[in-house]
């Protein structure tokens, strides 16, 4: 067991908890009535969601013309939001699957919330490709199913079809992974509760789990297999998303570095989102013993690492363009940095490259306010990264006669706000109804970093 690092840096879970206390701590938060702050939060988030729903209904009824797009810039906010949300989702899988494979025990406190975040982020992401279509009611044409059109199937050479398969698989697997992890905790909830609809629901969802170790043993195998499958999956998903751009002929999109660049960026943005939510949850739900400064510190180090990768990608892209001796490529990158939309480029660079550098200092990593601000800035920067890639490449491509600008309309902004509303609403509901911390997994690591019992 990789207990050595744990022994060095102290216990994973503070407060010398026993398994029973863990159950109490996590479940009692659910059994208490919601706090005032929760009601305020959900009121705000569901208003945002309602705004989003109204705008989506409006644009589906009226047409995509309600967005600020034009003949040259065919994608902007829609696909930016899509890639942004998918990237957010990736951190959840990374924490739950990749860190599991690497036996990083500290993941147990955050993985439940991170996986929930993945699912909600993928839901938010999936909405954008759907509503960005001119005729969203025909979205099912993306799927290969026997139909009256005879031998007409779908184009398996199109990166959008790859996307369709990648996103739907990713969602399915994430949901399953999350649910499998939830089964023992549902059983714990079921056995604690004395009645009511919660008990009924927990009873239904716990599938008759009784803690048999023979089941636990196979369960561990399944969990390992799922983690092993989810890890290449998460890499594949953002790789495929990057192929939407990399396989095209547009200067600024057509770059082989995009897949690793996107994967690193996804983890970077996702980690910062996990950190944002974690800091909020820690503070508002009194989970300081479970989400310790050590967890925050580990996340910060990951931010430095992935931020560094992203910075290298930015530089490489630029150097590759300059080295290519291709006028169109060179122009695309100079135009990013100095063209009419250069402000978005410099927001991206300052948020994603400069901001995380402060985390090299220990005082910054242990100051929760600093970390919170950094995580928010990175979220913003990573949104702009996708905006830069999509819009600045499209708006000035080969023929100068096509050069245009782009400005979002209020509809697009409201849709983005709506997607945040959806995400936060789902997350708040999750906090109310599902154990926020993986009870069974945390119990398994209680003894880590304490005096050995053996």
């Amino acid at each position: 067991m990789a207990s050595a690092p744990a022994a060095i840096s102290g216990p994973l879970i503070l407060g010398d908890k026993s398994p029973g206390q863990v159950t109490d701590d996590v479940c009692s938060a659910l059994e208490r009535g919601p706090a005032r702050s929760w009601w305020i939060a959900i009121a705000i988030s569901s208003s945002m969601l309602l705004l989003g729903l109204i705008t989506v209904a409006y644009q589906v009824l009226t047409g995509i013309g309600t967005w600020g797009l034009n003949n040259t810039v065919g994608w902007a906010f829609d696909i930016t939001n899509f890639v942004f949300w998918i990237g957010i989702g990736h951190a959840g899988t990374l924490i739950s699957a990749v860190l599991f494979l690497f036996r990083q025990k500290w993941r147990t406190s955050v993985n439940r919330a991170a996986e929930a975040m993945t699912i909600f982020a993928v839901i938010c992401a999936g909405i954008f490709p759907l509503i960005h279509m001119g005729r969203p009611w025909l979205a099912h044409w993306m799927a290969p199913y026997p139909n009256t059109r005879g031998p007409l199937w779908i184009n398996f050479r199109s990166p959008l079809v790859w996307d369709f398969f990648a996103i739907s698989t990713y969602f399915t697997i994430s949901l399953m992974f999350w649910y499998v992890g939830l089964i023992p905790d549902m059983a714990t909830m079921r056995d604690r509760l004395t009645g009511g609809w919660r008990k009924k629901a927990a009873n239904f969802l716990s599938l008759g789990w009784n803690g048999s170790f023979r089941t636990w043993f196979h369960y561990e195998t399944v969990y390992l297999l799922l983690a092993g499958l989810a890890t290449p999956l998460v890499v594949s998903v953002h790789t495929i998303v990057s192929w939407d751009f990399a396989t095209s002929v547009i200067p600024g999109w057509h770059t082989t570095i995009l897949p690793p660049y996107f994967v690193a960026g996804a983890i970077f943005s996702g980690m910062s989102m996990v950190l944002t939510l974690m800091l909020i949850a820690r503070k508002t739900m009194g989970l300081e013993d479970y989400l310790t400064k050590r967890h925050v510190g580990a996340m910060c180090k990951l931010l430095i690492a992935t931020g560094g990768m992203v910075a290298i990608a930015y530089a490489t892209e630029f150097v590759a363009a300059m080295y290519s001796n291709n006028d169109y490529e060179q122009f695309a990158f100079i135009n990013r940095a100095k063209g009419p939309l250069c402000w978005s480029y410099w927001i991206m660079v300052s948020c994603n490259v400069l901001t995380p550098q402060i985390l090299w200092f220990k005082w910054a990593r242990s100051n929760m306010v600093v970390v919170f601000v950094v995580s928010i800035l990175i979220n913003i920067g990573m949104w702009f990264e996708r905006f830069v890639i999509i819009v600045t490449s499209l708006h000035r491509d080969y023929l100068p006669s096509n050069w245009t600008g782009y400005a979002p309309t209020s509809i697009e902004i409201a849709t983005l706000v709506g997607s945040f509303g959806l995400f936060l609403t789902l997350f708040l509901l999750f906090c109310r109804f599902v154990p926020v911390i993986a009870i069974a997994e945390v119990k398994g690591v209680l003894s880590h970093g304490r005096k050995s019992h053996e």
């Binding site: 398996f156 789990w209 009784n210 043993f217 561990e220 399944v222 119990k443």
Partner: protein, 184 residues
């Protein structure tokens, strides 16, 4: 739940309850060393090393995962070839009929989907975990903070007192005898 081992209606079981992970681990080890028949152990979380203590054989679920993943991938690559190059070859951007490299991403995704769904389904069905099923708890609290060791009283030579005494040395908090599976 190990129904098969407890199908005999008049089978007798000894149930020992512990409060600490280390105790159940040591007790199980000792029980196995003595050749006792361990029906099952009930724990609130996956106790590390308990599988070795119980002498469980490796799970066969990886094979399900591998086989179904392979089947899914083969089906999908065939399907993509068939739709693009055989059923109705359509010239798409001058790409070859059999654009195998372009078929790889979807093949991979379908492989993962098949492998994961089938593994989970095999696990749930194999272990009898079905929606709405009522749980039979060996002892209250085994999903919270109690650890229960269930030993099958295989034959007449089973000495209840001796085994109880053995369990006592590991700090057992509760011992009882059960008859047949329904009481478990």
């Amino acid at each position: 739940m190990a129904e098969s081992r407890m199908s005999n209606a008049n089978q007798r079981f000894l149930l020992g309850v512990f409060e600490r992970e280390e105790d159940i681990l040591a007790a199980t080890n000792e029980a196995r060393r003595r050749g006792l028949d361990i029906a099952d152990v009930y724990t609130p979380y996956a106790v590390h090393g308990l599988d070795a203590a119980m002498g469980l054989r490796p799970s066969r679920l990886p094979w399900v995962c591998f086989a179904l993943g392979l089947a899914g991938a083969s089906f999908k690559v065939w399907f993509e070839f068939w739709t693009s190059a055989a059923d109705w070859p359509i010239n798409v951007g001058g790409k070859p009929w059999n654009s195998l490299p372009a078929f790889v991403p979807v093949t991979f995704e379908v492989m993962v989907l098949f492998a994961a769904l089938s593994t989970v389904a095999a696990f749930l069905v194999g272990r009898g975990l079905l929606p709405g099923r009522r749980a039979k708890l060996a002892y209250p609290g085994v999903t919270d903070n109690q650890f229960a060791l269930v030993i099958e009283e295989t034959n007449a030579t089973f000495d209840f007192d001796e085994v109880s005494a053995m369990l006592e040395t590991f700090g057992v908090t509760h011992i009882e005898e059960r008859v047949d599976q329904e009481s478990l």
